[in-house]
Symmetry: C2
Subunit: 432 residues, 2 copies
């Protein structure tokens, strides 16, 4: 059978991993793809950057047009990352009659509707297994394997950087800044870690999963989220005392009132599988009405795990399986009306962990408890340690019973203006 | 689009689950299959058996021929179980030009080569996601998602019955017989549990996974296996003391000398994901050269989890995706030479847990240790509790360092004939 010709646009870390696999494992890939898969072009603006793979002569080019003009190239892998020029390049690839494989979750979360519509109009496909969960086959699970189910909930650790930082804080009893510095040193966090630690990256991935699993049309910006930068070593210790680990949890859950979506550092009961996810790993727990609970765990990022997902998508596209999947999925389609509505964040209920920095004097606890009571938030437990005598303020931890987020925000607004409450109030979710 | 007509042969527990899904979730299934999927026939020999679903009139028939003669039926689900008449029926279905979906791992493990060859000759497909791991999409993971990887190892809990029994023994400190009786009462074990507790069911599933992941041509009967019926409450307690849980582990692992395959009750280090798998759950840990470690966890049996996998296969077959997968897989093909060889069981190395029932008198330990030494098996630790004064014999537990299975069997043969060693020696593997 005639070899399939493939091009890669974006020759960075992931791109180098994909190149390595395509060059080093041709037999294996040909066996699965039913024919040889030949890497024909590697496009990048920078020919000089050091990479851990060497290209055979003639493969590298700075000129995308050569790829677009080659009618034999059927699949192009977009690994530039970011929104532009990735968006324009993907449109050009589709318009030149080629299928796309991408690992770019930001692009999908932002421009999914436009890109998927264009691909459908042109009879092309966009594969994106690598965009969520790295090497964990979570997109295939939702697209193909669990299709007989109505998914009821997704609880997931989708950001390896945050999980690495939180694991470091927990295991070494270090603070956030030290753990972040270590993550950056190990290559698990970027110089500017904002997207990861703010929960934005997880919210983008959650929006994609919610679309696949629930047919929800969610803009990731509307997913309420809290980041891990507010977590202090003290919180880790208190959580531990109470029997919890702290994880950045992305949640999509169907309740009678709609789809609840949120990303938040969350106290997860120790001994449960999600609490035991360590380091840069990701994990996804799905409950379906037929299958029950299914749990996936693996490396959510990194050169080779991501390349593993990208190359599987290339194989799927070459085989023609992706064309079928893409056509049937009808993702982000204007004709495809949202099957569920996201519930307004203020109505989403849950238990909370709160930490206040308060004056160490009588009456403060009563004042705070009074305000919580006024907003009908009842206290499950309260923790205040003895401190050194001259501490200006002391931490006060409160675990609440279930309360709506709206009431919680209102109560916190009222509490935070109290004279006895210092800045730095922390709020996290609790999952038992 | 024209509806797809589907028939089910075998209207037992799983059959009833599949019927329920096809009847109750038509919209959902049509959305994923790209057209309506209509259940046209349900074939069974017994119209009277009580079932938890009621069929619309006209669907039930005792006459398979009606299905075979209906050219509009494209997919037939085989849920009879066992070898015959399942084998003959699957051949008839293929020969009448229809694709097959099955949950019958015994049939595949026994007659895979014949059935897959026939399907290929006739241009038909056989889908079998439900045959291994119940609702866990492990077949799709190996067939489609991890295809860019060379799988390096599979460590799996593949038999829910055994895991339920072992969990019961561990949590309630009961003995094997009591835990088995409870499993039977809860519907987790059959009246004759031999296939499950002997490790045969797990060996059949492991042979299928080894074929998919390594291209190994393995007869499940050649997989060395030990069952869980030898595990006593005392072993559970000792394992716990040493920091382990006991699990029926199915292992396929590439080493330079070949593919090591075995099924054995195994002491698994507590705190690792496999050790934490409880009740009727299954779990599969795969290591791939690119993706690293991926872990899947879910219900490995039961009506609706299995039906979830069966219906996903029906959707895949209706979509035409399965035809592509089946053709490319080239499973159990005579042209498809085995890519790896199974290593002779006697050469497979590993650590062992041994329990001897010995006379409570001086010199016995030295005698046993001497024989182990003769076979170059070194002792990592040794455990003997004080017992009541009048005990006729006492348990002696030994954890060994790594040793080949051949040497271990020879040493045990020599030890078991000692006058001071009573019957009932137990050997399990250890995984740290």
């Amino acid at each position: 059978m005639k070899p399939a010709k493939v091009a890669i646009v974006g020759f960075g870390t992931i791109g180098s991993g994909v190149v390595r696999m395509l060059l080093e494992h041709q037999d294996r890939i040909a066996r699965h793809a039913g024919r040889p898969v030949n890497l024909a072009y590697v496009v990048d603006k920078d020919p000089q950057r050091p990479r851990n793979v060497s290209l055979p002569p003639g493969l590298f080019t700075e000129d995308l047009q050569r790829v677009l003009d080659d009618p034999e190239v059927g699949v192009v892998v977009e690994l530039i990352g970011g929104l532009e020029p990735a968006r324009s390049i993907v449109l050009k690839i589709l318009e030149s009659g080629k299928d796309v494989v991408t690992a770019n979750k930001a692009l999908l979360a932002e421009h999914g509707p436009e890109l998927f519509d264009r691909a459908r109009q042109l009879g092309r496909s966009i594969a994106f297994e690598a965009a969520v969960g790295g090497g964990i086959p979570i997109i295939a699970a939702l697209d193909e394997c669990l299709t007989a189910n109505q998914v009821q909930s997704i609880h997931a650790i989708l950001n390896g950087t945050s999980n690495f930082i939180l694991s470091q804080m927990e295991e070494s009893d270090t603070d956030y800044q030290a753990a972040l510095a270590e993550a950056q040193q190990c290559g698990y966090a970027e110089a500017n870690p904002a997207m990861d630690v703010s929960g934005s990256d997880a919210a983008q991935k959650l929006a994609i999963l919610a679309h696949l699993a629930f047919g929800a049309q969610v803009n990731w910006r509307d997913v309420p989220r809290m980041g891990i930068d507010l977590v202090e070593a003290a919180d880790m210790r208190y959580a531990k005392e109470l029997g919890y680990s702290i994880k950045l949890l992305a949640v999509a859950e169907m309740v009678p009132e709609g789809l609840e979506l949120h990303v938040s550092p969350t106290l997860v009961r120790r001994g449960t599988p999600l609490a035991e996810v360590r380091g840069a790993y990701n994990a996804i727990r799905i409950v379906g009405d037929a299958v029950g609970r299914v749990f996936f765990h693996g490396l959510g990022a990194g050169q080779m795990p991501t390349a593993s997902a990208v190359v599987a998508d290339v194989i799927d596209t070459v085989l023609g399986r992706m064309a079928i999947t893409f056509r049937t999925l009808n993702l982000w389609s204007p004709e495809h009306r949202a099957r569920v509505k996201a519930r307004p964040p203020a109505e989403i209920t849950g238990r909370y962990y709160l930490r206040f920095n308060v004056d160490d004097r009588p009456g403060v606890v009563a004042e705070i408890a009074g305000i919580l009571g006024k907003y009908k938030i009842s206290i499950a437990s309260l923790l205040q340690h003895e401190t050194e005598e001259d501490a200006a303020c002391v931490p006060l931890m409160i675990m609440t019973h279930t309360a709506p987020e709206g009431a919680m925000l209102d109560a916190l607004a009222a509490i935070n203006v109290l004279a006895s409450v210092h800045p730095g109030t922390v709020r996290m979710r609790v999952r038992d």
